[in-house]
């Protein structure tokens, strides 16, 4: 069915924000390599991630971006999730 163009309505509908997601999303979500880890590696990565979150919190990264050495951290809590942003070479 052909649709009529209505830019005003489209502009209001933009408030939904995320508008399109691609056919390649599935392949891109796993990263370029998509490497599989062993169970032991999975545990090690999980432990390391938890440790980093803990260190970032202890360093005050919940209140804003902080720098340790040449790495900066910022920790956000959204609902039940904690999101740790790490930037290298700062």
């Amino acid at each position: 069915m052909k649709q009529r163009i209505n830019l005003r309505k489209a502009a209001e509908a933009e408030a939904f924000g995320a508008l399109a997601v691609g056919a390649n999303r599935k392949h891109r979500g796993a990263g370029v390599v998509g490497r599989r880890f062993t169970p032991a590696q999975n545990r090690a990565v999980s432990d390391m991630a938890r440790s980093l979150v803990k260190v970032a919190r202890e360093a005050g990264a919940e209140h804003g971006r902080i720098t340790i050495g040449n790495i900066s951290f910022e920790l956000q809590e959204i609902g039940s999730e904690e999101i740790l942003s790490i930037r290298t070479g700062t």
Binding site: M1, K2, Q3, R4, I5, N6, L7, K9, A10, A11, E12, A13, E14, A15, F16, G17, A18, L19, A20, V21, G22, A23, N24, R25, K26, R28, G31, V32, I78, G79, S85, R87
Partner: protein
């Protein structure tokens, strides 16, 4: 058949939701500086794209040898939207169209009465121009997130009967509608060619 060359950066005219005033902006190929601005986007728990890692998406575009292009919409000294095009394309009803692979606006623009509007429309205009420039006559193929169906339908996209493999709605734009849409977007001053 439509033919034209897109000149980047492209001057854009977004609209302040609160005052209705025109806000001048630019749309251009994204660079690292724009991705740094992305780190200041603050998502809400309900935002469908809150897990999208634009750093990774951007890096993949750069490594894609021209297949993927990442565009940034800028205004008020901030990043207002990002879009990725896949130039390898996909068949629409009448020929091959380019794919709008990712499209998102700054979460600050997602609250009624706040931020800017017409950012997504401006980015779609760039997709149209790129499709025309690449010989696809304005054809576009994309998967819409559930909340965005009204956006695409208001732009004249046609919903396809079959969903994507991931269960998303598929929309296409064909040349006649593309030409009309681009003309209306330019007439409204959302982009200037």
């Amino acid at each position: 058949m439509l033919t034209r060359k897109m000149q980047l950066p492209l001057a854009a005219g977004f609209v302040d939701r609160r005052s209705g005033a025109r806000v001048r902006g630019l749309i251009q190929i994204a660079v690292e500086e724009h991705l740094l601005l992305w780190t200041s986007w603050r998502y809400r728990p309900r935002d469908e794209d809150r897990a999208w890692d634009w750093w990774s998406i951007f890096q993949e575009c750069r490594l894609s040898e021209g297949r993927f292009e990442c565009y940034a919409a800028l205004a008020d000294g901030d990043l207002q939207g990002l879009m990725v095009l896949d130039l390898r394309g996909k068949r629409t009803g009448t020929g091959k169209g380019i794919i709008v692979d990712y499209l998102a606006t700054n979460p600050a623009n997602r609250t009624a009465g706040q931020g800017l509007k017409c950012v997504g429309i401006g980015l779609i205009a760039v997709a149209l121009m790129r499709s025309i420039e690449g010989g696809a006559a304005g054809r576009i193929w994309l998967e819409s997130l559930p909340g965005a169906a009204g956006f695409y339908e208001s732009l004249g996209f046609e919903k396809q009967p079959r969903r994507s493999a991931e269960g998303n709605m598929v929309y296409t734009l064909e040349p006649a509608a593309a030409e009309q849409l681009l003309a209306e977007i330019e007439a409204q001053g959302i982009v200037e060619s």
